[in-house]
Amino acid sequence: MSSSPARLVAEELTLGYERRIVAENLSVAVPDGGFTAIVGPNACGKSTLLRALARLLSPKAGTVVLDGRAAGDHPPKDFARQVGLLPQTASAPDGITVRELVGRGRFPHQTWWRPSTSEDAAAVDLALEQTDTTALADRRVDELSGGQRQRVWVAMALAQQAGILLLDEPTTFLDIAHQVELMDLFAALNRRGVTVVAVLHDLNHAARYASHVIAMRDGQIRASGVAREVVTAHLVEEVFGLRCVVIDDPETGTPLVVPRAPSL
């Protein structure tokens, strides 16, 4: 998959909370049409970077640029029509149905004098269909299983119909079957033209699904490029401090990280 020029770019960001600086001088270009995975050990700043790209966190220095214009200069709803986000934590109000919740992703397309249109209904139907949640549409969100609920949150992000979709650890707390199911869904969306950027915990998911991998440690980017170049035994040890061998995934031929057994 070749990467076209980036629509979403981070230029020399300094990121942090209150007085704590998480990352300095961070520059990233999100390849348009690609599937970018951001990996790294805990507290390396990967989620912070994603929050900055999503405009949830304003950088202390530097700028996030969308389509050649500083993210902060886009009206919030305009930005939201271009960049969607699946946050790590979200709460559903008590008693809300799946269809209603997914419909709330249409907010950036609505104005207070024209709240809901047939276009919105069509977008919700499509999002339900893409996430295979149509059958759940009239169920209450609080009755669903963890895997179903996560698909519903994805559907809400899809209803936003943004060309760039940011995912913050989308598979955490799911069992392995649901993790793979969700990653396959993101890959399918990416093939349909959605630019995907995902913060991932599982290196093997990153290696298998991503067209572009960014490896971070201590608030810095240590490597970025195609999985084959980034996911190497040398780099995994440098970034994660894990001794491993990297073999070819027997299914896909992509790199597969196998941790070494402790030498006795």
Partner: protein, 328 residues
């Protein structure tokens, strides 16, 4: 889709029940009237004495009760949604107590009458809300912190109120205490118009910000990702919520429980997602009209309605705390 229809039907039903209750209330009193009699008296000025009794004597009180209940219900729904906490209602987080403090200072320290108490209540209520907001603010106001700070400030204000009452002259203290109980016995047509205007203005503004409120229920991150300007939206909602509790409190005194319970009751009846604004208004109006009916007609000696709602509110609070504890 059918859930949306059911919510709408339940809301319409609640509004109609509140209206019917109000019409029944208009017929109660030393000069009892049947419902058809009341309706005729309402629409036909040539009914003479009936018209005078219904429109001039009873209507302002009943309409005020409806409107105060509606204002408090909506205010409660806004605050509880913003704090994501069924306890995060304006009476719990210090507003009513602060309004009472303002009225007490006006009456007992500055020696002003009821008019002064009205202004004092608004200043006291807004001041307390501002203090709570500033103390709870840290990179945005979070719901839980708002409740905790509010409860703390309420405790301090209660102590201050007791001290103000203790040091006041007996008759002044008595007048202040009666205001502090919350009563419709002195409401007139002007009050009803002021309340109506307030509710209308708040509703018009809410139409614009209610969608943002629905987004805020999903959490700040999701709201921002959907393009909500989170802090301005939250501030606008807080101001509307405060006005909806400030104006009624200033006019009739602090009335507990309605803002706390109406949104929760409305949400359960309509089975809506989150706390419904219009249904909360309907439940608030219905409960307050009925409570005022009980205060006026069922209890001896004309008890202030605030006392009735405090009793119901106490029971509700015990139930709520028990239910919340069981859930943990």
């Amino acid at each position: 889709m059918n859930t949306l229809l059911r919510t709408r039907a339940a809301t319409t039903l609640l509004l109609s029940v509140a209206l019917v209750a109000a019409i029944v209330m208009l017929g109660l009193g030393d000069y009892p009237m049947s419902v058809p009699q009341v309706v005729r008296a309402l629409v036909d000025p040539s009914t003479g004495f009936d018209h005078t009794v219904v429109v001039e004597w009873r209507l302002p009180r009943v309409v005020s009760a409806l409107l105060v209940g509606a204002c408090l219900g909506v205010s409660g729904a806004i605050f509880q949604s913003l704090t994501a906490n069924p306890l995060g209602s304006p009476d719990v987080i210090g507003f009513s107590t602060g309004a009472y403090t303002g009225a007490l200072i006006a009456m007992t320290v500055l020696g002003l009458g009821l008019g002064g108490a009205t202004v004092g209540a608004i200043v006291g209520g807004l001041g307390t809300a501002a203090i709570v907001y500033v103390l709870a603010f840290r990179q945005g106001v979070l719901g839980f912190r708002l409740v905790v700070v509010g409860v703390g400030v309420t405790a301090m204000m209660s102590a201050l109120n007791t001290w103000l009452l203790m040091r006041a002259q007996l008759e002044v203290a008595l007048g202040a205490a009666i205001w502090g109980a919350g009563s419709f016995s002195l409401t007139n047509a002007t009050d009803a118009w002021v309340l109506g205007g307030t509710l209308l203005l708040a509703t018009a503004t809410l139409r614009a910000v209610a969608p943002s409120l629905r987004q805020l229920e999903l959490g700040d991150d999701t709201s921002r990702a959907h393009g909500v300007r989170v802090e301005p939206a939250r501030l606008a909602l807080l101001v509307i919520g405060v006005v909806l509790v400030a104006v009624p409190t200033a006019l009739v005194g602090p009335i507990a429980f309605i803002a706390l319970a109406a949104p929760q009751v409305a949400a359960r009846i309509t089975r809506s997602a989150g706390l419904p604004l219009i249904a909360s208004a309907a439940v608030g109006a219905l409960v307050l009209v009925l409570a005022d009916g009980v205060a006026q007609h069922a209890l001896p000696g004309g008890v202030p309605v605030g006392t009735v709602t405090v009793v119901i509110g106490g029971c509700y609070l015990v139930w709520l705390l028990a239910a919340e504890t069981r859930r943990r």
